[in-house]
């Protein structure tokens, strides 16, 4: 009974702290721009493919495979964690055993996955600790980002060790007490063979130790995650669901501009629409972004696949698509906190462009969409970069000189070069075809 009370208390604290953090993070969505979410069936299909099916992570076949194993393993092991919560609250043992063969399969899979995940995490950790993988470096990858990654991996490693420990000593404990074993444990049964000489008391202790160790690690980990880049554990599946589903090359239309342009072209139609012009065109601060972009930022786990394929970054320019997402997240945290504490008029004299992202970074983008193509969780960085360019051009007229020339030419001659529109057919002059064919 005492154990159950203790369990209930820790669970309650875990949930309370988690709710507190979530409230803070999700309150920031209030400061974002609303865009509608349509095509739910397409979204479900994309979620199944990209999130559950892990299709994009396989673009790096070896590491992708290991990640997919970890992800699918987590899904299976999650069932066991839910069981632990029920057991903990009601003092039962392996309560979901009532599901019979289904339970056997799930538990057996989880047991094997624990070993696979453990080995994968060891590979991930050694890549980070001993190999200099280029995409894990870069100016935005500060010491804290690296520590963050290693901490998350260490947690998962311990989770798997305690899970296997729990299963192993559960088997030994059952044997010592002549209890029937509920479930099937293909991996732990092999490990248990090494510990057959332990006394029943020792076995009991290690079972309790691993059981509590595992569940408490989950509770602590769940509350560290939202403060970590590893928050993607929670955010990536929903992010894939809300992510952009239009062709990568499509740029969102600015309706506010359409009204203005239509007014210029035909004053009659413009007065028919009564909507007011927005206070600002484009994005200059975190509070101007769409809620999907903020969601993108929350689900970025800083893997750097985007930056590794960015033509600008590859050729030594400042732009790093990963940094764009990290900057948005950091700025929203800062500005959101101010807005929540000091109210809607909060100003700290800072903004996303300028204090976090330089104009030089924004103008280095070729809009090639390599980053978006690569992102395993469907983050679309180019559209955010475009929104910031829109601010620079429409609000500040701050385009590089060459582009301003092109704009002027398009305005005056209908082409980005300085040619007369009357010469548009010159290419077709004196055209001959060989008719013998």
């Amino acid at each position: 009974m005492l154990k159950q009370l203790f369990f209930a208390a820790t669970l309650l604290i875990t949930l309370a702290v988690f709710a507190f953090t979530m409230r803070k993070l999700f309150a920031n969505f209030r400061f974002t721009r609303w865009i509608p979410l349509d095509n739910i069936t397409t979204r479900l299909r994309v979620t199944l493919e990209v999130a559950i099916g892990q299709t994009k992570i396989f673009r790096h076949p070896v590491m992708g495979f290991l990640h997919a194993m970890v992800f699918w393993g987590f899904l299976v092991i999650l069932a066991g964690s839910i069981e632990m919560v029920i057991d903990g609250l009601f003092g039962t043992e392996r309560i979901l055993g009532i599901l019979g063969p289904v339970y056997d399969v799930v538990i057996a899979l989880g047991d094997v996955f624990a070993v696979i995940i453990l080995l994968s995490i060891l590979v991930f950790l050694s890549r980070r600790l001993f190999l200099k993988v280029k995409r894990f470096y870069g100016p935005e990858m500060k010491a804290v980002s690296k520590a963050d990654a290693n901490l998350a991996l260490a947690f998962i490693l311990l989770l798997m060790v305690t899970l296997l420990g729990m299963n192993t000593f559960y088997l030994l404990n059952s044997a010592a007490n002549n209890h029937e074993v509920i479930g099937f444990y293909p991996a732990s049964i092999l490990i248990a063979a090494f510990f057959t000489d332990l006394s029943p008391e020792t076995v009991h202790f290690w079972h309790e130790f691993n059981w509590w160790g595992h569940i408490l690690l989950i509770f602590v980990f769940a509350n560290i995650l939202p403060y970590s880049k590893h928050f993607h554990v929670f955010m990536s599946v929903p992010n894939v669901f809300v992510s952009r589903i239009s062709p990568l090359g499509y740029a969102e239309n600015m309706e506010s501009i359409t009204r203005e342009v239509k007014m210029m072209l035909d004053p009659q139609t413009a007065f028919a629409t009564s909507a007011e012009a927005p206070a600002k065109f484009g994005v200059s601060d975190a509070t101007d972004v769409s809620w999907v972009h903020y969601m993108n930022a929350l689900s970025c786990t800083e893997c750097g696949r985007c930056t590794a394929v960015c033509p600008a970054n590859i050729t030594g320019k400042l732009l790093s698509p990963r940094k764009i997402m990290m900057d948005l997240r950091a700025r929203m945290k800062e500005k959101g906190e101010g807005l929540r504490r000091k109210g809607a008029h909060f100003e700290d004299g800072k903004s996303l462009i300028g204090n976090y992202i330089s104009e030089e970074e924004l103008w280095a983008c070729t809009m090639c969409n390599a980053c978006a193509q690569e992102c395993p969780v469907n983050i679309h960085q180019p559209s955010l970069i475009l929104d910031m360019r829109r601010y620079l051009v429409l609000e500040k007229s701050a385009a590089p000189a060459g582009l301003n020339n092109a704009f002027t030419n398009i305005e005056n001659n209908g082409a980005p070069w300085q040619f007369s529109p009357q010469d548009r057919m010159k290419w077709a002059e004196d055209l001959f075809i060989n008719q013998t064919v």
Binding site: Y250, P311, A415
Partner: protein, 265 residues
């Protein structure tokens, strides 16, 4: 053998005035109309259209810039002015099907004009040519490229932006020659460096120009023909080949040019 006939590219205003509505509009695009290198591509494509007896016309002086560069450089106002003006013209002529040699205009006309009320069936010239080949309207019987090795550079706005990787490759597959791929190809393809307005501005400070990185990769493939299907890629790769002093050994062609050469037009 040399039996050259002069052809006149039909202009929409004249065709419409004669009471005819052509099946296709050939959207030439600013680069196709003004860039010296890509004007040649427009000419070759017009020759192919003429060879195929396609019922088409161009807008001529009534065509204006699609606005793609303006939009991706952040000038939404200018983009929409261009788009709305073009849509007015296109709708005035009742245009339904558009074919263009420019992947950027292809993307904008196909994916973005609908937001502003312009709805057309838009084809990139590689898709158009692939269809003609699959219908056996184009058949190659040429030894011109027999000893050549061709590599294809994926334009971002055809490939990643619109998922078209196979049309250009299947055209090349029909031309007797050796084909190779660059290390980064298809959805992994590296940008030529011209997109997003870069074509018209100085590059930011870095260790290398993007077009050089891509040209080096193309040269490393061992090809003597670098094929592409985009005016911007064409400019960048041509510059890259010159920069690498390889212009005597390596040539740069648009898919339409290879088709036209292959047909002996």
């Amino acid at each position: 053998m040399d039996n050259k006939t002069k052809i006149k590219v039909p202009v929409m205003a004249e065709v419409a005035a004669a009471g005819h509505q052509p099946e296709w509009l050939f959207w030439v695009g600013s680069a196709g109309a003004f860039d010296d290198r890509y004007k040649k591509v427009s000419r070759e494509f017009a020759k192919i259209l003429s060879f195929l007896k396609v019922d088409y016309a161009v807008l001529g002086t009534e065509e204006s810039d699609s606005g793609d560069v303006a939009r991706r450089a952040g000038n939404e106002m200018l983009f929409q002015m261009q788009a709305l003006t073009n849509i007015q013209i296109l709708d005035m002529y009742g245009v339904k099907k558009i074919v263009t040699c420019c992947p950027h205009d292809f993307n904008t006309l196909k994916n973005e004009y609908p937001d502003l009320g312009g709805n057309y069936e838009v084809w990139h010239h590689t898709q158009f040519l692939q269809k003609q080949i699959s219908e056996k309207k184009i058949q190659f019987d040429t030894k011109l490229f027999k000893d050549k090795t061709i590599v294809f550079h994926d334009p971002c706005y055809l490939g990643r932006a619109n998922n078209e990787y196979d049309a250009p490759r299947s055209i090349l597959a029909g031309i007797p020659s050796t084909k190779v791929e660059m290390k980064r190809n298809r959805s992994f393809g590296l940008c030529c460096g011209a997109g997003g307005g870069q074509m018209f501005k100085e590059a930011e400070k870095g260790s290398k120009e993007v077009f050089i990185e891509r040209t080096e990769e193309a040269l490393a493939s061992g090809a003597d023909i670098i094929a592409t299907a985009c005016p911007f890629c064409m400019v960048m790769l041509t510059d890259g080949i010159k920069y690498k002093n390889e212009e005597d050994r390596v040539k740069n062609y648009d898919i339409a040019e290879l088709v036209s050469l292959g047909l002996g037009l």
